[in-house]
Symmetry: D2
Subunit: 181 residues, 4 copies
């Protein structure tokens, strides 16, 4: 099972990037998780798109097409989904009739320094996949709150409870993706 995983953050030491790495570490070995970095994907622009997808975008969309499912860790900014996460989806939802996201099973998670743990960001991101005809796993969900206390200075997830939940989450995601392939 091939999973394409990415974080909706460009920051080098992003908690959401670290969460994606931990998810890869803790996933069942049968899941082959490729981590994609959104760096270099420009803001969506239909004029650019009309000239042909920029190279980074084409690579991203191709990687989605080749995956059996996606794993996305999103920050929450301003009570909503980080623009970096949504921008990746805005590109990958195109063209409407033959979008890479069509019929892809998806797992969403997120981390934030506050207590709500990206809850509102995840809700908005999930809403997007109703349009793209993607299959979001409804439960379990992972809201990593007070993220600065859950990772060490190298970006390793050290909080034992979160590691346990994340292991279970990845097992559930395996079952979820398996339903659709």
């Amino acid at each position: 099972m091939k999973i394409l995983a990415f974080a909706g953050s460009l920051r080098k030491d992003s908690y959401n990037k670290a969460l994606i790495r931990a998810a890869k570490e803790l996933a069942p070995s049968i899941m082959d998780i490729q981590i994609f970095d959104l760096e270099g994907i420009p803001l969506y622009n239909a004029d650019l798109e009309a000239e042909g997808d920029p190279e980074q975008v084409a690579g991203f969309k191709n990687a989605i097409r080749q995956a059996d499912g996606l794993l996305i860790a999103t920050p929450e900014y301003n009570h909503g989904v980080a623009a970096v996460s949504k921008n990746a989806i805005d590109w990958a939802s195109r063209p409407p009739k033959n979008a890479p996201l069509n019929q892809k099973p998806i797992g969403i998670l997120g981390a934030s320094p506050g207590l709500t743990g990206s809850a509102r960001g995840q809700s908005q991101l999930r809403q997007a996949f109703g349009f793209t005809n993607s299959y979001c796993m409804p439960q379990p969900e992972i809201l990593v709150y007070r993220a600065h206390q859950k990772f060490d200075e190298t970006g390793k997830l050290t909080d034992e409870n979160t590691r346990i939940y994340l292991s279970r989450y990845m097992e559930a995601l395996y079952e979820w993706v398996n339903r659709f392939i």
Copy 2:
């Protein structure tokens, strides 16, 4: 009264850019509307920000600070706010204690080719301004549906009903911004 207006689209012939131009044309003359183009504002990246706001971002944030209010026209993509709109807000919401968006009155509108006229995009954008402590005008609202039938090939708003609604909207926005300055 100084209003900073922008569309959450980079496309040259964007309906939302055209809507902003129409809003400027139809506004009470007492409103001095400056149109800002989001072209050149990069995706939000906290590492970039830590080195100092990029020039386009600094210009954008400065323009917000000098305005009495904002007018934003947003597309809807994937049942949510266009990433281009949200990205502008993600930058302008920083730094948390002294953000340009703090206490700014805001009018939101939007255009789309479909029937829902950007309804879900506007709802998500509005949600962001709860966090930034900005004052969104609740009503009236403008959902320009079937936008391709409302503008001519030069991007001029030609639909008479929409022109009337937009005139009233701009009068209401004038009153709204006036409450806060």
Copy 3:
């Protein structure tokens, strides 16, 4: 395949009730659609629940348990899901560990007199099913706009395009529910 269908409206001549009847009429004959009326289900009250589910609630929850999937038509009020729809979900989401909604596949649709066709109401309703671990069909979606022009005075869906879309929707729902049983 047994489908439990209901409208989030108590009004006798509700467009959403009429839409549910049309869905039943147009569904593949292999779908056995039972229409449930929410009349008599009280507002959720944890004290009431602690004394045992009221009779109407128990009947509703039992009907959900016996169904292979659900079909829900919701009005939109005040840019969100009608309280009548949400209230039914608030009851059926209990108890958390063994809720009737757990793992149920669900189709959402909606009708409204306006142009947005219940778009925002549907989005909020969909959000609830992330919590209840239910499986909402992402696409196709049905937004019956200007509902007063689509039904005759007896509540029959007469708009030919809507009938065609609804037939296809019910075929898609059949396939969707079939994935999970």
Copy 4:
């Protein structure tokens, strides 16, 4: 300044009812806070409404009309606003041209046993007031998380930090309502 306050819960020992009582206790003395109990308000039904508002509804709508502003504490159920809260708004949003909620300033808060503290419930409730043309205070916001640890067995708010935040919140609400009267 007259404030009408209510909780979107019917449970006798509701944390949100307790939060409303604490808000009344901690508010500036210049705020005259009347607490309204939603008990007895039926589910919205346009047929019922057509016969004249039921007595409890008429009393509720009248109390809103006489208030300078509202204070609402909402639970979150199923990642969204509690139906009890939304139902009160669905009644009070009527009739469209002359609704009690029109132009009312509003403060929203909420409590929940979990960590997200009703965040998603508050977001959805806030969305409703865009339609009703009410003026929601954007900040500060109060998300009382782990509510079972913040109140004593008599329903008194005992958590000192929450008491301090709530005092400041009520001062801010006083300023907010004052802008509009």
